[in-house]
């Protein structure tokens, strides 16, 4: 005869009491597991939904990149065709200037009054759109011990008889310097850097990309400062006339028109249209990149909205489980405790005789707590098994998204090691719940006075 035999026989005798106790524990274990599965399924579904959305967004951006690349190629072709129809640039030089010097050395020596530019602007010349008086001279950069072409420019002179147009070239502000590619590469210059040039301080404002022309060895500064540094106050080497509106075979007409206004000058064609085309392509590329960046931002915003939506759903389920779980545990504990108390009341006579037969206090405790622990084991295991199914079912009912519906139970468990721990620990918690809830009743049984019970007859 053992205590376990006594426990099992009593359980077999009072099945309903034990089954109700098992049921209460099972409900508690079921709730723990189901709540955990729902919450962890949410997390896994969120992870999968986000991965799917991320993948879709990236695919959309890839598609967009291909579209933009194709559109860019079309745009470049269109620009090339359009540029054929555009006008060209001319350079107005003093008549005495040897053009060979410009082509061979990239600089000029002969000057003419700066007022020529204004004179031309004030005329009613129709073939020229933009006028830029400049000084252009090869000089030594003594501080860096290198030769550069100094380009002084003040921006364009407005044509008085035309509507104001957007300038095609920007002026360089006094004290600032625009640097050609070969120079800034050699000197390692950065935008915003202070440099000393021919005894004056300048701030690097723009670094040009490589153009494959004399521009790469040129520095641009304000015209007035350049004139002072070269001792050419109110004098310029040339006036650049841009976007001349005439076909290439009508250059003679431009020359005639300018000579009529500015006698003692000569006009030569300046700058290839290839530069303009390259700039247009660069601009097109920038527009495409901006479009892609906007696409990425829109994709990220979509992902963020999805994540917020999923997070709200998760929080809602977590809050629900935080309310339901303690309530169910409390009710289960109360039910188990009450059933244990009823059991003790029923067994008063039995307790009395067992004490009379010599059972110790600890043995009486074992009789009642052992039964409670057994209900905990059975209820815990049953609750876990039922909780797995319930959790999966409830998870699908609460979250009707396609990913949630298709998420298998095994996948949910495998993807969340924490859930595995819950499944392992819950039966132990169930045993603890049943045992602790029955503790008071068991203690009452163990402390019962056998004499009082036996006298009761």
């Amino acid at each position: 005869m053992t205590l376990s035999h006594l426990i099992f026989r009593e359980i077999a005798h009072r099945k309903l009491n034990f089954l109700l106790s098992v049921l209460a524990v099972a409900v508690a274990a079921l709730t723990i597991v189901a709540a955990d599965i729902v919450v962890r399924r949410d997390a896994e579904v969120t992870r999968r939904v986000m991965a799917q959305k991320q993948s879709e967004t990236e695919a959309a951006i890839e598609e967009k990149i291909e579209l933009v690349a194709a559109a860019g190629a079309d745009l470049e072709d269109a620009i090339r065709k359009q540029m054929k129809g555009l006008g060209f640039n001319v350079l107005i030089l003093p008549e005495s200037q040897d053009v060979a010097e410009l082509h061979l050395q990239g600089s000029l020596t002969q000057t003419m009054p700066e007022s020529y530019a204004q004179q031309l602007a004030d005329s009613k010349i129709m073939t020229i759109n933009h006028l830029l008086p400049t000084v252009l001279k090869q000089v030594r950069w003594p501080e860096q011990e290198m030769d550069v072409v100094l380009y002084g420019t003040r921006g364009e002179v407005p044509l008085m008889h035309r509507d104001l147009k957007k300038p095609v070239l920007d002026a360089v502000a006094p004290g600032q310097m625009v640097v050609g590619h070969a120079i800034h590469q050699k000197l390692g210059l950065k935008v915003g850097q202070q440099v000393e040039f021919m005894g004056r301080e300048f701030t690097v404002s723009v670094l040009h990309p490589e153009r494959g022309s004399g521009d790469d060895v040129t520095v641009w500064i304000d015209l007035g400062q350049a004139q002072e540094m070269l001792g050419l106050q109110n004098l310029v080497h040339a006036i650049l006339a841009l976007e001349c509106e005439c076909a290439g075979d009508r250059i003679a007409q431009i020359r005639a028109e300018i000579s009529g206004i500015l006698p003692g000058t000569q006009v030569i064609e300046r700058y290839s249209q290839a530069l303009a085309r390259a700039e247009a392509r660069t601009k097109a590329k920038e527009v495409a990149e901006e479009s892609l960046a906007a696409e990425r931002l829109a994709g990220e915003a979509t992902l963020l909205r999805e994540l917020e939506s999923r997070t709200r759903l998760q929080r809602g389920h977590q809050q629900l489980s935080r309310i339901i779980l303690p309530l169910v545990l409390l009710l289960a504990a109360a039910a188990v405790g009450l059933l244990a108390y009823v059991n003790v009341r029923y067994r008063r006579e039995e307790i009395g005789i067992l004490r009379a037969l010599g059972l110790r206090t600890r043995q009486v405790l074992v009789v009642f707590l052992g039964k409670a622990a057994l209900s905990g084991v059975i209820g815990g295991v049953a609750g876990v098994l039922l909780g797995i199914g319930s959790g999966a079912l409830i998870g699908r009912l609460l979250d009707r998204s396609e990913v949630a519906i298709n998420l298998g139970l095994t996948e949910a468990i495998v993807s969340s090691p924490g859930l595995f721990v819950t499944l392992m620990v819950t039966p132990l918690l169930a045993v603890a719940l049943a045992t602790l809830s029955s503790w008071i009743a068991a203690a009452m049984a163990a402390s019962q006075d056998a004499a009082m019970i036996l006298q009761g007859e």
């Binding site: 005869m1 053992t2 205590l3 035999h5 006594l6 026989r9 009593e10 077999a12 005798h13 009072r14 006579e349 039995e350 009395g352 005789i353 067992l354 004490r355 009379a356 037969l357 010599g358 059972l359 110790r360 206090t361 600890r362 043995q363 056998a450 004499a451 036996l454 006298q455 007859e457």
Partner: protein, 236 residues
């Protein structure tokens, strides 16, 4: 003397007025003695039996059993002592309802766990079957108490009381619910236990049961005497 009660007193304080159940009771019982305590209901007989059975500590006085003072032991030690040295038989049998007859008889072996015993738990089953045979219950071994007659239940209780080979049996109105034939069987078993060297303390108001004892004491209002006194109910 195996059992010695020396000026033992017990008063119940549950109601409005204290009820004296034992008033300086002194009693000695040795092995091989069959002692009956007679008296009216509520005179304190059961209180005396429970006190002698180490289940109810007296307010004062000394209780010595087999040279030990059980009421100076810890609760668990006293329980073990009780399980090994004493056997109980009650009027209401107090069988465990969900255990079979055999398991009921084996129930006292629960007290033998973690203690030295006169009955080896491994041999307890054989001994229990022998007791069932002795009390004519061999064919009832697998039945639950609800399927037994009153006489069979009391014989089962007797077998249970004897399983651990106690030194003393404490019997509280063991024939109260039995017909004469079964009562004779139970009293015969008690007598046989004494013959084999045990001691019996029987409390009863049944003349016939008391007649089976070697010596009869009388109890009234918690006072023990060797001759009958006017009956007055004073305690439960």
């Amino acid at each position: 003397m195996w059992l010695r009660l020396d000026r033992v007193s017990k008063t119940y304080h549950g109601g409005e007025n204290p009820v004296p159940a034992l008033c300086e009771v002194s009693l000695e019982i040795d092995t091989g003695m069959f002692v009956a305590i007679r008296g009216p209901s509520g005179c304190g007989k059961t209180t005396l039996l429970l006190t002698a059975g180490t289940l109810l500590a007296p307010d004062s006085g000394d209780v010595v059993m087999g040279g030990e003072r059980p009421y100076q032991m810890t609760g668990d030690a006293r329980a073990s002592f009780r399980g090994l040295q004493l056997g109980f038989v009650f009027q209401q049998f107090h069988l465990v309802p969900y255990l079979s007859v055999l398991d009921n008889v084996l129930a006292p072996t629960l007290a033998l766990a973690q203690s030295s015993s006169a009955v080896d738990p491994r041999d307890a089953r054989e001994r229990a079957l022998g007791l069932l045979e002795q009390f004519g219950l061999a064919d009832r071994a697998g039945h639950t108490p609800s399927r037994l007659s009153s006489g069979e239940r009391q014989r089962c209780a007797m077998a249970r009381a004897l399983l651990n080979q106690p030194k003393m049996l404490l019997a509280d109105e063991p024939t109260g619910n039995l017909d004469p034939e079964n009562a004779d069987q139970v009293l015969g078993a008690l007598r046989q236990f004494v013959t084999l060297g045990g001691a019996v303390l029987l409390v009863t108001h049944d003349n016939r049961a008391a007649a089976a004892a070697d010596k009869t004491w009388w109890m009234n209002r918690g006072v023990l005497s060797q001759s009958p006194q006017p009956e007055t109910v004073t305690a439960t």
